[in-house]
Each structure stands twice: as C-alpha cells, then as structure tokens.
C-alpha cells in the first residue's frame, strides 16, 4: 500500500503510522451528563466495510498528520489531505 502524501508525494506504507478514526470528536462538556458521549469518544468505533476516514502520521517523512479516506474492503485510497488543513 502506498499513500500519496500531499507534501512528499507517494510513499510506501512503512513511512507511516496508523493513528485511528479521523471522525471522532472530543465532547465539549466534561460534566457527568456527558458520560455516554465520553465513553463513545474514548472506546466505541464503527467498523465500516467500505470508505473510512482515518488519521495517518508521516513519521519518516514530513511529520504531517494526514486524513486518509480508505476503502477497508479493497484498501483503495480515494483521498489524502493534511489534517491541519485550514488551520
């Protein structure tokens, strides 16, 4: 598998580290009432068969965090963006 890093170009998988689901959002509230949202944020992940948005770290290259859209069935990568885009 190769990932087309927006900064470095296409590189082999061994240059990257998988850093999990890119869609989870940290809950705003830290109150007891937000317990379920926190359990969901920390532990619960979807396991889709198909397109999945995930974070990858280009540790052996430009050290960017990337948001990769990958098909979990075929491993085809349809989009790669810098996670820090617009920031």
């Amino acid at each position: 598998m190769r990932i087309n890093c927006p900064y470095c170009g296409a590189r082999g998988l061994e240059e990257f580290t998988y850093r999990g689901d890119a869609t989870v959002k940290r809950p705003e509230s830290i109150e007891e009432s937000a317990r379920d949202a926190w359990v969901d944020y920390v532990y619960l992940r979807d396991n889709p068969a198909g397109l999945h948005k995930e974070l990858w770290h280009h540790g052996a290259g430009c050290h960017s965090w990337l948001e990769v859209t990958r098909n979990t069935v075929t491993h085809e990568i349809t989009a790669v963006e810098l996670a820090a885009k617009g920031r």
Partner: protein
C-alpha cells in the same frame, strides 16, 4: 572528540575541534571492485552550518519575505531546495525548512538565522547532531537505489530536488546538488550508514575521501 587545550596567560581556553561522524571505523581508501574508475565517491561535508527554521503561527508569509530580503531565496512549498546567498533552504514539511551553509559554519548559521528571524520563526541548531555525506560518481544513483525508495531519475529528481525518507531504515534528508547527492543523517547512525555504504558501493568500486 579531541579537545585541544591551549594554555594562555591567566587561564586556559578550550578549542573544540569537530570530528567526523565516521571517525574510528571508516578509513579513506578504495573499497570493493578494484579495477577501473571508482563508480561512486563518498565524502563527508564537515563543518557545515545546519539549522531548522519553523514558521511561527501565522508568520509564514512574513518569514518568506524576511528570507527573500536577507538571502535572496524563495522558501519552497514542497520537498525541494532554494539556494540563496551562502545558504540552501530545503523544504522538510509544511512551514518547515532545513538550512545548510558552508560560509556560516557550524552554529554560526543558527545564530544568524535566530537573530534575523526573531519573532517570526523558531530556529534550532543541528550542526553537531547531523552528518552530511556527499555521494557522487557514475554509479551514485545505483548505490542509493539499494537503500532508498525514492525515484532518483534525473527527469524527476532534478537539481535541487529533496526528499525526507529512509535509507536502509535510517531516517535521512537527501538533496541533489548538481550531479552530487547530499545525505543528512543523525550522527549516531554514522556507523550503520558506513556499513550500508561500504557494502552497497562494493560492486561498483567505492572511493571514500575524508572531507570535501
């Protein structure tokens, strides 16, 4: 590291002499194939000024203007280099550059950059942490291909092109300077690099020269 202590009146002054990252295990000479011209020549570029320059938040445009004014170089938005007055700037990541200089030797480069870029960039000295090896000769690309997964075809990897990647599992920054390839690596892997270079260059005949 040899420390030359010079006795002076009223005290002593220490003069630190920089030592090759390959000191103690790599000796100059010819390795591998003995007959004919050496396919690859390797040397260490000693006493270079090396520094990283990282734009502070929201200061990237100001940094580019400052570098253009001070060194006449356009900081590249990608993995390639821009050569300015006495300093080469290489893109190593978004908003980050690696600066290399012969004229501003050792820590002089970081000192000058830090002074000129105060408030707009963070500058860190890397001159004592990295070794820069120069690989050249007719078989230079064939040798590098044994450890590096980067396309070095001259139509793609043009003069000034750069890549941050791994060479035989060692993290390196590589750039092309004319027909030579410069490889910056952490000094601590100097021994592993030498082992890789000696073995990979043997088939083509490797000439190792101490300094450039």
């Amino acid at each position: 590291m040899p420390i030359l202590s010079i006795r002076k009146e009223g005290g002593s002054v220490s003069n630190l002499e920089s030592t090759s990252a390959l000191h103690g295990f790599a000796t100059p000479g010819r390795y591998g194939k003995r007959d004919g011209e050496a396919g690859v020549t390797a040397s260490e570029r000693k006493n270079l000024g090396l520094a990283t320059v990282v734009a502070r938040k929201g200061q990237e445009a100001a940094l580019k203007t400052a570098i253009q004014g001070a060194y006449g170089a356009d900081l590249p938005d990608g993995s390639r280099s821009a050569v300015g007055k006495g300093v080469r700037f290489i893109g190593i990541g978004p908003g980050q550059w690696f600066a290399v200089s012969e004229s501003l030797a050792n820590e002089a480069l970081a000192d000058e950059l830090a002074t000129k870029l105060q408030g707009i960039a963070s500058v860190a000295d890397h001159s004592s942490g990295r070794a820069v090896m120069r690989i050249e000769g007719p078989a230079a690309r064939d040798v590098l291909a044994k450890g590096l997964m980067i396309d070095l075809d001259p139509r793609v990897f043009v003069d000034g092109a750069a890549a941050t990647s791994t060479l035989s599992h060692m993290g390196v920054l590589l750039w092309r300077d004319g027909n030579a390839y410069d490889v910056a690596l952490f000094r601590s892997v100097g021994g592993s690099f030498w082992g890789w270079l000696r073995d990979s260059g043997a088939a083509f005949g490797l000439e190792f020269v101490t300094t450039s």
